[in-house]
């Protein structure tokens, strides 16, 4: 079974430029997550999708970040414009779906390491 696929693996851009990350979750997984991970820290949730609906985006900085999950499968996370402080690893994860309000096992992709110069 293929795991969660993310691209690109690495991205270097200058500040104020736009950037986009792509994620393909495990087939059949209804829930998709985007996390931000700073060096030496644990992942922090940016947004969670149940199928194509964003059900938890309270941590997403909406002035510059946007995300979409068309057709409830692949997802794209965009930053426009990027700032120096956005340098981090952006992780995508998927799971079968929340059961009775509890989260189940999440499967993570390898992440995209973003460097903003």
């Amino acid at each position: 079974e293929a795991g969660v696929v993310q691209s690109p693996r690495y991205k270097i851009i200058e500040k104020k430029q736009p950037v986009a990350f792509w994620c393909n979750p495990i087939s059949g997984h209804n829930t998709l997550y985007w996390y931000l991970q700073n060096l030496g820290q644990g992942p922090e949730l940016l947004i969670r999708y149940e199928n194509e609906e964003a059900v938890d985006d309270s941590q997403l900085p909406k002035d510059r970040f946007s995300a979409e999950r068309l057709k409830g499968v692949d997802s794209t996370l965009k930053i426009q414009p990027a700032e120096l402080g956005d340098s981090a690893v952006y992780l995508c994860a998927s799971s079968l779906g929340s059961v009775a309000g509890a989260t189940d096992t999440q499967y993570f992709g390898p992440g995209t390491r973003l460097t903003v110069l």
């Binding site: 644990g42 992942p43 949730l45 938890d56 992780l91 309000g101 989260t103 999440q106 993570f108 992440g111």
Partner: protein
């Protein structure tokens, strides 16, 4: 904000020794999960323990949960060099369907 706090932040042991990592949290949970992350890679799920469970085993892993103390521990027995990684606890808070990760413990197993 990150609810889980791992202790210690870093741990260095010799191959064959046991490694114990602790996690404390603040609010009521549905479950607590442990993940491993090798350098430059994504996280890999290790084990999930529900709030009504006290202990769980998986291979060389043993997880305990004490909801009265709001703490959990992960024990890796007979460690191997390949166990070198960062280990994160993540809590599924009872108030919402979201995993909150701690800052992790960096484990180094020396051959």
């Amino acid at each position: 904000s990150q609810q889980g706090e791992e202790d210690p932040q870093a741990l260095s042991i010799q191959e064959g020794e046991n490694a114990t990592m602790n996690c404390s949290y603040k609010t009521s949970i549905n479950n607590l999960q442990w993940y491993r992350q090798n350098s430059g890679r994504g996280l890999v799920h290790l084990i999930l323990i529900r709030s009504n469970e006290r202990e769980k085993h998986s291979g060389r892993l043993r997880v305990t949960l004490d909801t009265s103390k709001k703490s959990s521990s992960l024990l890796i027995t007979a460690s191997r060099a390949a166990d070198t990684a960062s280990y994160f606890c993540a809590t599924d808070q009872a108030s919402g369907s979201r995993l909150t990760f701690g800052e992790g413990t960096q484990l180094t197993v020396n051959p």
